[in-house]
Amino acid sequence: MTRIDATFAKLRAEGKKAFVAYVMAGDPDYDTSLEIVKGLPGAGVDIIELGQPFTDPMADGPTIQAAGQRALAGGMTLQKTLDMARTFRETDTETPIVMMGYYNPIYSRGVARFLSDAREAGIDGLIIVDLPPEEDEELCIPAQEAGLNFIRLATPTTDDKRLPRVMQNTSGFVYYVSITGITGSAQAEAGDVAPEVARIKAAGNLPVVVGFGITTPEAAARIAGVADGAVVGSAIVSRIAQGDTPAEVLEFVRTLAEGAHSA
């Protein structure tokens, strides 16, 4: 059982939904970012999505793009993202960390070396946006063999014919992308999301969390109400972008977490 599996088992036992928070590693700089990440569990975050910056984030909207550029300009690297996870693990051995990003920095480092380093750093799962099931041999299967969860994105365009393929090598949970679009753009509607979540749950036995387009505590509550959890990314990153202190960012995160947990 991975930390991710354990987290969902615990939440289920408590009758609670998961709140997943995304931040870009190294945004606006390494130390501030680490301080925010360390404070996330205390603010009610059940699972941390740690963004690995990339020069060409094709699935992300302007907010996450800018965060990645700030991090890279501040000298962020894949090694430093791993370092950040390792430092976090020194004081928190329970909260799962999912690294989210694009394939090239991992491919550039070498898949075997990356997986061993990621595991050693205490990373529990991976969400790699540009690796669909058709490319499972690249990283998904080696990651599962290395004991990391490979979390897949399912989208409104993932039809019934395709869904089994998407579920096949997925573990940990499924991340349902609630809109066709990029991060931080349109608003997710609970009415549209509910039947999709039911469809994905029927196709596999994994928890389904919903992200893209959730920006307020109320929206987090509505979406978490029809799924196993809600993800907020761009709305948190926007607070960092506007220069909020870590304490202010974490206070905002707390309201989101309370929203999701009220569902």
Partner: protein
């Protein structure tokens, strides 16, 4: 010709869209179903004589194909070696090879019932070609173009707008072709159900590299029969040369000759200020290493951490940090050679073509011509070089004037040195 299919260079890609280890489908899940649909639709069209009949008709009456294969006699005499032929794709409607591919993709979009077309463009040639064909078929057209390129290619921006396209300046990243492609992909993810993405080169996720190559292969196919007509039955070129940004004009010229071992194949990358000066070039094969970007694995300009670098070239059309995956494979297998040419060398070739042949080339084929200038003098007259004159130079006159120190606003009529 290859008797043994297993030894053929013309069988790629495999069913996973791979040329050896290159290519593939590295896209988000949202796009995956559409890419599979596009692949199925293209496979159907490829075997449909009606599809090709429509293409042939448009190529002939709308584009002006076949483009001439022209013996550049004064240039050959001047260089004093090989016989140099130019494949005159700069005479196509819209002034470059880009329209060969755009027609194919737009016909496919029509078959798929897509009414909204998006494209990325660097120098603006692919954007102009896409806007042109969309106007012809009454389709909505949106072109993403880096803000930096919008500023340096103003005439093409105006052309696109005249043709009814919406040109969106891309400010994300550093505002060049790579960022335009990112934003086009973002648009596609958002409007996936009604939108067709018309990619301008032999890159992107499968099936684009193969599909664009197939549409551009008309260039090499025509060279085969035109040369036989002019030089005698069975006469093949000894060397074929083309410039490479993403590599679509080159793939179009090379592909029909891949299984003719006597034909030497040379791709010319943009060397900018010189490949040894870090980051001041666009030579992905000479100066990069394999990575994954924009849906495919290929050689990329990147740093040690896998972050993508910006290229540099005098030619906006070659200003891209990657290259089509089939070129990466041809490079690794050794079937094709890849060299680089600097901005300075390309400018010299540009002027030589004007002076000896009365042809103002685009800066892209000027790179190919510059390599011809290097190798032709040492070859015998009976050695035939075919270079792809893939675009005309109208769009580049401002850039060239600036580099030659000529003030275009000077109304005194100063002579060029």
């Amino acid at each position: 010709m290859a008797d043994d299919l297993f030894n053929s260079f013309m069988n790629g890609p495999d069913e996973r869209g791979r040329f050896g280890n290159y290519g593939g489908r590295f896209v988000s899940e949202t796009l995956m179903p559409l890419i599979l649909e596009l692949e199925a639709e293209y496979e159907k069209a490829k075997d449909d004589p009606e599809f090709w009949a429509e293409m042939d008709d448009l190529w002939k009456h709308y584009v002006g194909r076949p483009s001439p294969l022209y013996f550049a006699e004064r240039l050959s005499d001047h260089l004093g070696g090989a016989s140099i032929y130019m494949k005159r794709d700069e005479l196509n409607h819209t002034g470059a090879h880009k329209i060969n591919n755009v027609l194919g993709q737009i016909l496919l979009a029509r078959r798929m019932g897509k009414k909204r077309i998006i494209a990325e463009t660097g120098a603006g040639q692919h954007g102009v070609a896409t806007a042109t064909v969309c106007a012809k078929f009454g389709l909505q057209c949106v072109v993403y173009m880096g803000k930096h390129d919008v500023e340096r290619q103003a005439p093409n921006v105006f052309r696109m707008r005249l043709l009814g396209a919406e040109v969106i300046p891309v400010t994300s990243g550093r505002g060049t072709l790579k960022d335009a492609m990112n934003d086009a992909l973002r648009d596609w993810v958002t409007n996936v159900r009604d939108t067709f993405y018309c990619i301008g080169t032999v890159a992107g996720p499968h099936p684009y590299p193969a599909m664009v190559r197939d549409f551009q292969s008309i260039i090499g196919k025509e060279v085969r029969w035109q040369l036989a007509e002019q030089e005698g039955e069975g006469r093949l070129p000894d060397t074929v040369i083309a410039a490479i940004g993403g590599g679509s004009n080159a793939m179009g010229l090379f592909f029909p000759f891949l299984d003719d071992p006597s034909v030497r194949i040379i791709g010319v990358e943009a060397g900018g200020k010189g490949v040894n000066d870090k980051m001041e070039h666009c030579a992905s094969l000479t100066g990069g290493r394999p990575g994954v970007l924009h849906g495919n694995r290929t050689y990329l300009l990147q740093d040690d951490d896998g972050q993508i670098l910006e290229g540099f070239s005098i030619s906006a059309g070659l200003d891209y940090p990657g290259i089509g995956p089939e070129h990466s494979w041809l490079h690794d297998t050794g079937r094709a050679e890849y060299v680089s040419i600097t901005d300075r060398e390309a400018l010299e070739a540009f002027q030589l073509s004007c002076a000896t042949e009365g042809i103002i080339p685009a800066l892209e084929p000027s790179h190919a011509l510059a390599h011809v200038m290097k190798i032709a003098p040492d070859l015998p007259r009976e050695h035939i070089i075919v270079m792809n004159m893939c675009g005309r130079g109208d769009k580049d006159i401002y850039t060239v004037a600036k580099h030659l120190g000529f003030d275009m606003s000077d109304t005194e009529g100063r002579e060029l040195d």
